[in-house]
Symmetry: C2
Subunit: 456 residues, 2 copies
Amino acid sequence: MDAAEFRRRGREMVDYVADYLENIEQRPVYPDLEPGYLRSLIPSEAPLEPESYEDVMKDVERVIMPGAASPACTELETVMLDWLGKMLQLPECFIAGTDGHGGGVIQGTASEATLISLLAARCKAIRRVQATNPEISEAEVLSKLVAYTSEQAHSSVERAALIGGVMMRKVPTDKTYAVGGHMLKQMVEEDKAAGFIPFYVTKHSGIECVCLFQFCATLGTTPSCAFDHTTELGPICNDENMWMHIDAAYAGSAFICPEFRPLLNGIEFADSFNFNPHKWLLVNFDCSAMWVKKRTDIIGAFKMEPLYLKHENQESGLVTDYRHWQIPLGRRFRSLKLWFVFRMYGLKGLQAHIRKQVALAKEFESLVRADKRFEICAEVIMGLVCFRLKGSNELNQNLLKKITKSQEIHLVPCQLSGRFVLRFAICARTTESRHIQQAWRHITQLTFELLQEPSH
Amino acid sequence: MDAAEFRRRGREMVDYVADYLENIEQRPVYPDLEPGYLRSLIPSEAPLEPESYEDVMKDVERVIMPGAASPACTELETVMLDWLGKMLQLPECFIAGTDGHGGGVIQGTASEATLISLLAARCKAIRRVQATNPEISEAEVLSKLVAYTSEQAHSSVERAALIGGVMMRKVPTDKTYAVGGHMLKQMVEEDKAAGFIPFYVTKHSGIECVCLFQFCATLGTTPSCAFDHTTELGPICNDENMWMHIDAAYAGSAFICPEFRPLLNGIEFADSFNFNPHKWLLVNFDCSAMWVKKRTDIIGAFKMEPLYLKHENQESGLVTDYRHWQIPLGRRFRSLKLWFVFRMYGLKGLQAHIRKQVALAKEFESLVRADKRFEICAEVIMGLVCFRLKGSNELNQNLLKKITKSQEIHLVPCQLSGRFVLRFAICARTTESRHIQQAWRHITQLTFELLQEPSH
C-alpha cells in the first residue's frame, strides 16, 4: 500500500469507526452465535497472493461484526495462529484446528511468552512430583527445580526464572555461540550427580528428575543471531522429562521461507514455541505469537474461575478462554493486525520481504569483508551483521560513540567471547540498497576520522 | 468531540501519519536531548478546563517529535502519572517530580500491577530476612511467606500469589463486604501464633515477621464495589512490616472528585497503588496506572542489565528505565492517550463524567427500590448497582437467563453472602437517563413474564 492509498484507506477507516459509534444502539448487545462460528467463514490458510483492501474490509463486516469483540476476538486469534503456524510448517500438534491438543495465542512480548512457558513447566513439574510423593510440599519441590538456557539467551529468560522463583543455569555455547546437545547433557548430569540428587536420594529416593524442569532454547540469539542445536537438545529434554521452550523472537519470521525452515527442525520435540511477528513480519508492536503442544499444560498453571467470569460455555470445551493463557485478564483485538497483514501481503509478499532484508544484510556483509580493517564476528544468516574493527574493544567503543553522536544511523553493541562487537540490524520495511551503501560510507568515513586521531 | 469533529480530526491524523512516514529520512535517527527535557516543556498539572485539539496537536510537534519515541515515551509517561496522581491528591511521596522516591508507571492491566507489587514485596521480604539470617536459603524464606487479601478481592490477586509461588490467605469481610482492621489483625496473630512462628522459633528464632509480607486492599471490589477500611489496615501493615498494595481498578477514577476522595484515605500507608483509567476515565484499553512509594523497591525486584540494553545514562539516576517496572521488555506509547484525554476534557470535564454516571446509578437504584419485588444488595456508591429479586437464587438465575437471551442489555452476576446477585454497571461514555429507564422497563417486563411462568 503506497502513501496515497494509505491516506484514502485511513480516511475510510475513520468514517467506519464514526459510523459504528453513531449507530451502536442498533446493534445487538450480545452476539447470537454458536461457539466456533468463525472458523468456517474464512479459509483455513493464509492466501499466497495479496488480496485487495476492499475484500478484507468486506470480511470485517461479514465475519467480525456479527461476533462483535467477543467471541470474534478469541476465534480470529485461534485461526490466525493456525494460519501462521501453517506458514511456519509447525507440526500438526501445535495447530488448534486439528485432532491435536495444541494451539496458539498472542502474547504482548517474548518476555511474557517465556514467563508463561516457565510457569506452565513449573506447575507440571510440581504436580508430577507431588503425584508420586504427596508428602513433599510445593515449596520444597520449588527449591529443587533447575531450569536451563543458553548463556547467550535474552535477559528476559533469566528474568522469567527470577519471577518464577526457580534456579536457572546458563549452558555454555560453542564457537558459533550456540548450545549443542553435549553441553546441556553434561550440565544435567552434573546437577543430577551433585547437590540436588544426593539431597533427594537421601530424603525422598526415586524423584531425581524433579530437579530438571525446563530448557529454553534460542533460535536467533539477541547478540549474534546464533541458533541452538534443537535437534540434539530436543531428545535430551524429552528423555529427562524437561519442558523445552523455543524462543525465536526475531528469527521466527524467516521460517515462513522454505530455505530458512530447516533452522526450526527439532520443533517437534518442543512443548512451546514463540516468535514476534512485530519484530520482522510487518505487524505493529505488540504481537508475540506463542504455541503450545498441550493446551491443558498452560491452562492448568493458573486457572481461576470466579462467578463474574463464568459463562455458559465454560465446561463445553468448545470455547478457548485465553485469559488462562496469559498474565493479564483483559485482551486487545490483536489478531486483526495479523489478518490484515497476511491478506494484504499474501505469503509470497511476506517471503519477499524477508528475502530482501536478508539480501541487504549480505550486501552489508560483503562491504565489511572487502575492507581489511574490519572483521565479521558471526555468520550472517538473517538480517543481522555482527562486525568490528580489528583491534581493541576501546577502539570499537570509540567508533560506536562517534556513530551515535553523528545521529545518522543507530547501532546497538553486544559482547561476543569478550569482544565488543557492533550490530548492524536491518528491520525497517522501507530499507533499500541505497541505505546500506550510505550507512557503510558513513561508517568508513567515521572510521577514517577515528584512526586519524592522535590517540590511535 | 462530536462525530463530525471526530471525522475531521481522524482524517487529519491519517495525513499526519502518512506525512511522517513519507518524510522520515529527514528526521534525526537519534534525539539530541538531555534526560528530563520534557518536564519543563509542559505544565506541571492537568488543565482544569478543556483545551482545543489544535493546541494538543501543536504540542505533539513541539514536545513529542523532538524526543521521538524515546525518551519522549518514557518522560511523558512519568509526567502524565504525576498529573493523574495530583488529580487524585496522592501523597507527595508517590509523585516523581518531587524530592520523594516514588513515581508512576502504566501497566497493561490491574492483574499486572498486582503481580508486580507482589513480586516487589516478595523480593523485599526475602532480602530483609537474608540480611539478618544469611544461612536461610531463598527457597526456605519463600515457603514461609504469607500474603493476605480480602475474600472479595479480584481473582487476579490470588492468581498473582500463584504465579509468585507464595501462600495467600483470604481475610473474611464484614457485612458491607469490606475488610476491617481487626479481621486482618486477628488472622496475622493466628498465623504468628500457630504454624509459622513455632516452626521459625524452633529453627531460626527472631525472624517471625517473615511470614507476613503483603496485604492487598481493594477499594471498589468487583462483586459489589465495597471499600476495605484502609485507614485501619494501613497502620497494621506498617507495624508488621508488610507491604500494602491498594487495588482500586474500577473505583480509582472517581477519586478525582473531592466528594469521593475520602474513600482513598489511608493511601499514605500504602507501598503501591493502582487503578485503571481504561475502566472509567475515558481512556481506551489498555492503561492501568500504578504508583509506588519507593522506586527502588520495584526496580530491585528483577533488574537485568545485558550489554545490548545498556545506555549512557544508566547510572546517572536521571533516566527512568520502565523495563525494570514491568513484566514485558518492550513498551507502547500509552501515555499519549492520557495526555489527549486529560487535555480534551480538562479535570472538570472528567469530574462531570464521573458525577453523571454515579447519578445514573442512583437513578437506577431508586427505580429498583420503588419496586417491592426487588432488593438492593449493597450500598450504591459509584456506578454499580447490585440488586436481585426477593426470593431464591434460582429465580434470579432464571431472570438473568431471560435478560441475556433477549440481547438488549448485558448484566454480569456475582455472589454476595451466598446469594446470587445481578450487577447493573454504568460505564459507557454515551449512557443517558433514557437508557436507564429503558433498561429498567425491560427488566421489569422480563420479571413479569418470569413470574407468570407455571414453575413460579
